[in-house]
């Protein structure tokens, strides 16, 4: 008993002392970022997965699962059986600095920050409530910030303050990856149009009116580039003027509008959310546009082929000299998803042409079905190369790509589409390790679940 008391006293003194020490450190250390951290024997790191398992009733459940080494992604089985941190509801995941955030969706407006604790285990460090909810688009800004924009799909009803219908401004939240906290909020309308008509039943012309639906964001210096669809204000995903590409250039971090730019050669940028813009090491921003496809949720007269355009480094306008027609290139097709993996190369998922006619609206958003092939895009040389070693597959469109040692780690589910598009025992999900130089994929760890929606590496 005595021993215990004296021991716990020592411990509490130690805790108090360390608290004082850390508090002092915090106060004078604000911008200590080591760009090339020297390998430290005591440094702890962990690979954090946004993991989607399948419940007994076949619904999917989100988890945060950490694995200590890259080996675990390369072979064996990854499972949340007795492991992992369960999440409430469907969640987005994104990383800034050494924090992985999960964001709720629809009526769940809570964001949770996960960091490594002193033992190197992933733990919730804090959480915050967002002012708004609904759909989100998330972008990484610099080394340690995220920009989260809340999206709306319909014009707003008249209110006491606003006697006529209106389109609300978009709300941008800056999230700090060092503290795990919401840092600031700002609003900007970006681009919208409401045409009124003399019809008491339908005061708003739903054919021409639109609101901005963000499909990608990139921060370059003091500018924020926001790609968007002009979406009908009626709550559908029908696009207005889908045959142009739109980017709003905002001043960052003021979120004031600098300029709106458009490109008439390409369709509107991106698919649904957060996949459309990709920045290279040099600061060139590449954008992909899909083509009309009900299966991909691209509704509207997008008359151009699926393609890639770019905003050169240092410029705030589209490069009129550059146009990469991916749809008509050898091995090409309609792009559904793309991620930049370095050295002017990207990997992309292209809708397998033979599949498209049979697929109903929104079907390729399903977790299972051989919808896509994987390709390597050489952005500079405008070449499409099929990746071997990965069969036709499905995967979550907002999942990020993890790159280490020049190899890209992605998750893909292989298996025939089920009747209604759900997951089934007939499908299997694996991590695939893609070598962009050889355009080959190696099958890595098997996922005991539906998908990995994100792979991140964080350190203590």
């Amino acid at each position: 008993m005595n021993i215990f008391i004296s021991y716990s006293k020592k411990v509490s003194i130690f805790i108090m002392l360390s608290a004082v020490l850390f508090a002092c450190e915090d106060s004078d250390d604000t911008v200590e970022v080591d760009p090339t951290p020297t390998p430290d024997a005591t440094e702890k790191s962990s690979y954090v997965l946004s993991f989607q398992s399948i419940a007994a009733d076949n619904s999917t459940l989100d988890f945060i699962l950490d694995v200590p080494t890259l080996d675990a992604l390369e072979s064996g089985v990854l499972s949340v059986e007795g492991k992992g941190i369960p999440q409430l509801g469907w969640r987005f995941a994104a990383q800034a600095a050494n924090t992985v955030f999960t964001f709720g969706f629809s009526d769940d407006n809570k964001a949770v920050a996960y960091q490594l604790d002193d033992e190197g285990a992933v733990k919730e460090s804090t959480n915050f409530i967002m002012n708004n909810n609904l759909d989100k688009s998330i972008a990484v800004a610099g080394d340690d910030k995220l920009i989260v924009v809340d999206l709306i799909r319909t014009a707003s009803a008249p209110t006491d303050q606003n006697p006529v219908p209106s389109v609300p401004e978009l709300i941008f939240t800056i999230v700090d990856g060092k503290t795990g906290k919401s840092e600031s909020q700002a609003t900007n309308a970006i681009d919208n149009r409401l045409d009124f008509q003399n019809d008491p039943e339908n005061p708003v012309n739903l054919t021409t009116s639109y609101l901005p639906w963000v499909t990608g964001m990139e921060v370059r210096g003091n500018k924020l580039f926001v790609a968007y669809h002009k979406l009908s204000v009626d709550g559908s995903f029908r696009m207005v003027d889908a045959d142009k590409a739109y980017v709003a250039v905002l001043n960052y971090p003021a979120f004031t509008l600098d300029t709106l730019i458009e490109d008439t050669r390409a369709n509107s940028i991106g698919v649904n959310s957060q996949t459309g813009l990709h920045q290279t090491e040099e600061g060139t921003i590449y954008a992909f546009s899909a083509a009309s496809s009900n299966a991909m949720g691209i509704f509207g007269e997008a008359s151009h082929p699926s393609s890639i355009i770019r905003i050169p480094a240092g410029s705030n306008t589209f490069d009129t000299e550059y146009f990469f027609d991916v749809e008509n290139a050898p091995n090409g097709g309609k792009i559904f998803w793309m991620d930049y993996i370095g050295n002017n190369k990207a990997i992309a998922r292209i809708l397998i042409k033979a599949n498209e006619p049979q697929l109903p609206d929104w079907s390729v958003f399903s977790e299972q079905g051989g919808f896509f092939k994987l390709v390597v895009l050489d952005l500079e040389n405008k070449q499409v190369t099929d990746v071997t070693g990965i069969p036709p597959h499905a995967n979550r469109y907002s999942a990020n790509t993890y790159v280490e040692n020049g190899k890209a780690y992605i998750s893909a589910r292989v298996g025939a589409p089920t009747a209604a598009g759900s997951v089934s025992a007939a499908g299997t999900t694996n991590i695939y390790i893609v070598d962009p130089e050889t355009a080959t994929a190696t099958k890595g760890a098997t996922i005991d679940g539906a998908a990995v929606k994100g792979i991140f590496k964080i350190k203590k």
């Binding site: 007994a56 059986e81 959480n127 809340d150 906290k181 559908s236 759900s422």
Partner: protein, 791 residues
């Protein structure tokens, strides 16, 4: 010696009488009914004379005895009823049919006990697997029908809060629309929340019947997993029943129930309730291992400070109902012909969505229901053995959601303006969405007695719904501005046979489900207005069937088994979508289930004790179970899962010296995916109730009675998402709950005045039916009741 002499004299006298009268015998026909004019089956009829052989009444309450001319005393008795002795004179002319009405034995029936007696007992002895709650004792305390049903083995009512809160009712693993609700045999679906069972104080109900898995045809619905039928006051008596009830959280309840019968058989009746509660009870955050609620800054960040609890501030519920009845009884053309008009409404302030961490401050739901119905019943129509019941109604239900606040509320009053002026609080656009439902129901049941031991029944139910939706503030066309209809026609035919001196009862039945749906679907991506709206129709024809067999091995022990192959047709929203995020699926198939029950009922009675043991094992095999699939940002119902439930529920009731009782019930069920055997989460699987009571009688000379009882409910913890996934210390668990309720009741002047005190959640435990949604803490209720009848 004297005694034996007397007996000898009596015997000789009787013999003489027999001899003298044998040439002038007449057949006396009679019928034994209870106060509600329902026939009593199995009553003992004895002619009070020596060597008389008794008889028992048949299913329709009738009996027949041969009697010589002269005056006779007929004694009729039945358990739970006061024994009745009638004097009959038999002359040369055939006597008229003798009607004998038995009154319930007051001595036996005034327990706080949830008792299955008399009619209840009779129902329970049906071959169907059924639990019956007799509310006689419950009427005097502050409970609603839901809390009553929650004590039935196999039943879990999961509540999201206090009075008026949303609830899910689950029976042997089935929940939602898979279990159907009836009042007096009339389907209650689509009547809205102002008439749901949590509004009904138990005072207004006579009896609740819970049919498990196998549902008799007279409850006409596509019930996949069973049905609940509430029975209201049907006795033919003039009475007035008033109750007032007040308690914690500013809870006020009142009921008025009255019937007036004129000697000429005209009946006037009123039934009404009023409920209100602020539901401003304390809740303790319990946010996944973190106690209390985070105090947040203007950006929503945790400040590091927490407050242990908050008080709910926007959870008020008010509901009211008035039902007026007028009609005639016991006429040559009708045993019962009634017109009934009902009005009900409620207002429900919604405190939060799925998580209590973020409160709402202005979201409300309002409903109003109006219903007009006519009911006709006649036994032996046109002098035949045909029993007829017809019911028809028309109802309108208006339900509104109000979510227009531009404020982000917080538990500690630090509200902030919402940046997006288009959004309301509950996760979507501001809305004043309103459903307008019109419901029409016709039920017809015919019962034909082929023979005293055989009957044939036919039931037809038509349940027609037309739904229209509107949102006056929406800029865009919203779901269901075009009406849609669902027309359910359910036809049932059953045959019941009792053989082997009524020890073996068999019912076989078939049901036909003929269901038509009609809606207008909008193709939101179609620009051509003439092509944009498509009329879609869907019809289902399904045949279900089942059987129920019971066998009385001894007079005490009854074995029961039943099965049904049944269907549930998708509800409108599952089929048509909601016009926004829920996509329609015109190819949905009905859910199908094969339900099997095996059980026994054992009754033991001695002078000192009565014991009833009811045990029941069940299996449910559901195929084509509906599943909400998320497809990107859209959702859609599909037929996906096959689910098997195996379980057992049982109840034991012990009554000692008519003074004390003990009731224990428990349920265990194992619900799993048929294909993978993996257990389904978020379902209570082990739960039970224990109740102890005692009463004192005649404390003063005012014919009084003091009752006290203690009730304990237990539910084992269950995981919210999965039994196996996630680190054990991180897994979302709905914790086990143990709650105690204590009741004290005092009745005066033969039950005319009642006063009762109830303490719910005595230990102030933190109770959760659903993840993180805490139910009220300790609460006190006082109820006064006045009951006056003309008997």
């Amino acid at each position: 010696m004297i005694v034996s002499n007397l007996r000898f004299v009596q015997g000789v006298f009787a013999l003489l009488c027999c001899v003298l009268c044998s040439y002038g015998q007449q057949q006396l026909k009679g019928k034994v009914v209870d106060d509600a004019t329902s026939p009593i089956y199995g009553a003992t009829v004895r002619v009070l004379r020596a060597n008389s052989t008794g008889t028992t009444t048949s299913v329709d309450g009738s009996f027949m005895v041969q009697l010589p001319i002269g005056t006779h005393k007929i004694q009729v008795s039945y358990i739970g009823f006061t024994t009745h002795i009638a004097e009959v004179k038999i002359s040369e002319t055939p006597p008229p049919v003798l009607q004998i009405t038995l009154s319930p034995s007051v001595e036996e029936l005034q327990g706080v006990t949830i008792r299955s007696k008399t009619e209840a007992e009779r129902v329970q002895e049906q071959a169907f697997e059924i639990d019956v709650i007799d509310t006689r004792g419950i009427k005097n305390v502050s409970v609603d029908v839901n809390s009553l049903l929650n004590t039935v083995p196999g039943v879990v009512v999961r509540e999201n809060g206090g009075l008026g809160a949303d609830f899910t009712f689950s029976l042997n693993g089935f929940s939602g629309h898979q279990v159907k609700f009836f009042i007096d045999g009339i389907p209650q679906d689509n009547l809205g929340t102002s008439l749901s069972f949590n509004n009904f104080p138990a005072t207004l109900i006579e009896r609740a019947e819970v049919y498990k898995g196998v549902v008799p045809i007279y409850l006409g619905a596509d019930a996949l997993g069973g049905a609940i039928n509430l029975l209201t006051h049907q006795k033919k008596e003039t009475f007035l029943d008033l109750s007032l009830d007040t308690g914690s959280f500013n809870t006020q309840r009142a009921t008025l129930n009255g019937r007036y019968y004129t000697p000429k058989g005209v009946m006037l009746g009123i039934t009404s309730f009023f409920n209100h509660s602020d539901n401003d009870y304390k809740i303790y955050g319990n946010e996944f291992g973190k106690e209390g609620f985070a105090i947040r800054d203007a950006l929503g960040n945790e400040t590091g400070e927490r407050k242990a609890y908050v008080k709910r501030f926007h959870d008020q519920y008010t509901s009211g109902m008035v039902s007026l009845k007028a009609g005639v009884v016991d006429k040559s053309y009708a045993d019962r012909l009634m017109i009934n008009a009902v009005w009900a409404a409620n207002t429900n302030a919604i405190q939060h969505g799925t998580s209590p961490q973020i409160p709402f401050g202005a979201v409300e739901r309002k409903e109003e229901a109006k219903r007009l119905s006519i009911q006709y019943a006649k036994d032996s129509i046109f002098g035949t053995a045909l029993q007829t019941k017809v019911y028809a109604e028309y109802a309108e239900v208006e339900s509104k959601i109000i979510d227009t606040a531009s404020t982000v509320y917080a538990w500690f009053g630090n509200t902030t303006p919402r940046l997006n002026i288009g959004l309301g609080e509950s996760g979507g656009s501001k809305t004043l969405f309103q459903f307008n439902d019109q419901r029409a129901i016709i039920t017809t049941s015919l019962l034909y007695k082929l023979h005293t031991n055989q009957q044939l029944a036919l039931n037809y139910t038509k349940n027609y719904l037309e739904r229209q939706g509107e949102d006056p503030i929406s800029v865009i066309p919203i779901a269901f501005e075009d009406p849609r209809t669902i027309d359910k026609n359910i036809l049932g035919l059953s045959y019941t046979l009792k053989t082997m001196e009524n020890t073996l009862a068999t019912t076989v039945f078939g049901k036909g489900f003929f269901i038509n749906m009609n809606s207008v679907l909008e193709d939101e991506f179609e620009n051509d207005p003439s092509m944009r709206f498509e009329d879609i129709r869907k019809s289902y024809q399904k045949m279900g069937f089942g059987a129920a067999v019971s066998y009385k091995i001894t007079s005490q022990l009854q074995l029961k088994t039943s099965f049904e192959n049944t269907f549930r047709v998708p509800e409108g929203f599952e089929f048509f979508g909601d016009g926004l995020n829920l996509l329609p699926n015109p190819n949905l198939e009905p859910e199908e289930s094969t339900n099997i029950n095996v059980g026994f009922l054992w009754r033991y009675a001695s002078d000192a004790i009565r014991l009833v043991v009811d045990m029941h094992g069940f299996r449910r095999a559901v195929t084509n179970r509906l599943f909400l699939l998320s497809r990107g940002i859209k959702g859609q119902y599909i037929n996906l899962n096959n689910v098997t439930t195996l379980g057992m529920d049982s109840a034991v009731q012990l009554t000692a010296f008519e003074r004390a009782y003990l009731k224990v019930s428990g349920t265990y069920q194992y619900i799993s995916n048929t294909a993978t055997n993996e257990r389904l989460a978020n379902q209570p699987y082990l739960f039970g109730n224990l109740e102890l009571g005692y009463h004192f009688e005649g404390i003063t000379k005012l014919e009084d009675r003091l009752e006290c009882s203690w009730q304990t409910s237990f539910t084992e913890e269950f995981p919210f998402q999965s039994f196996t996934a996630a680190a054990e210390d991180q897994r979302f668990i709905v914790p086990s709950q143990l709650s105690h309720t204590v009741q004290l009741g005092y009745h005066l002047l033969r039950n005319r005045y009642h006063i009762s005190l109830q303490v719910r959640n005595l230990t102030n435990a933190r109770l959760f039916d659903n993840l993180n949604i805490q139910k009220p803490g300790r609460a006190f209720f006082l109820k006064l009741r006045y009951y006056l009848n003309n008997s």
